[in-house]
């Protein structure tokens, strides 16, 4: 695999991951955009599994619940909330 192809593959994987966390873990009120800041954790794709995604997701959920003075129900918050029932 040439370097160029490998670079393209890495970019494709990063795009997909950013999209994935944007629509699941780190949803926000706009529901159509994702914060580019999460790219920080995809810089080196071999290190992605070294991060505590669970803790980050929970922190985000708490924060969103705090902010939730109006409609602000992400898929994930639903997912976790149902467990409580």
């Amino acid at each position: 695999m040439t370097q160029e192809v490998r670079r393209l593959w890495d970019q494709v994987v990063r795009i997909y991951l950013l999209y994935l966390v944007g629509i699941t873990l780190f949803t926000n009120k706009s529901t159509t955009v994702v914060d580019v800041v999460y790219l920080r954790y995809f810089r080196d794709l071999d290190l992605v599994d070294g991060y505590s995604w669970g803790a980050a997701a929970l922190a985000h959920l708490y924060r969103e619940l705090n902010k939730a003075t109006r409609w602000n129900c992400s898929k994930v918050s639903e997912y976790l909330t149902l467990l409580q029932v």
Binding site: V13, Y19, S77
Partner: protein, 139 residues
């Protein structure tokens, strides 16, 4: 993201391995299509910021790390994520470097979203673009 053009990639073995290595691949199968807004609202009303828990008639209840780990199969150990918000300029730079965005397009994204954000529609489009670029290189 899933359509006729991209499906061959999504089922490729290397792709699945690559995603499994990130520990995030479970998220692909994790979402509710049916959301009970009434139920969520009832819970949100009982959320208390000071204790980060729901106050229910029979006591307090909250979502724990263990719940996250059991339900979403995400790693709960490892490095903690910590970051400050980034500027629009940083966002453009990162998109160019890590996603291979065109600088002009990246600038349009941060301007349109009024912050260091980009739209899902944009991500879908460049996902496909990169695939085509890669195919062109191989043939």
């Amino acid at each position: 993201m899933h359509d006729n053009d991209t499906t061959p990639i999504m089922v490729a073995r290397w792709w699945r391995h690559r995603l499994q290595d990130t520990d995030l691949s479970w998220l692909q199968d994790t979402s509710y299509s049916l959301i009970d807004h009434g139920l969520i609202c009832a819970f949100v009303e009982r959320w208390h910021e000071e204790t980060s828990s729901f106050h229910l008639p029979f006591g307090e209840m909250t979502v724990t790390l263990k719940d996250v780990s059991c339900l979403l199969h995400l790693p709960i150990d490892g490095m903690l994520q910590s970051h400050e918000a980034i500027t629009r300029d940083d966002a453009v730079e990162w998109m160019v470097e890590y996603l291979g965005s065109n600088p002009g397009e990246a600038l349009v994204e941060v301007t349109r979203t009024k912050g260091a954000h980009c739209r899902f529609s944009y991500l879908r489009r460049i996902f496909k673009d990169r695939m085509l670029e890669k195919l062109a290189l191989e043939t």
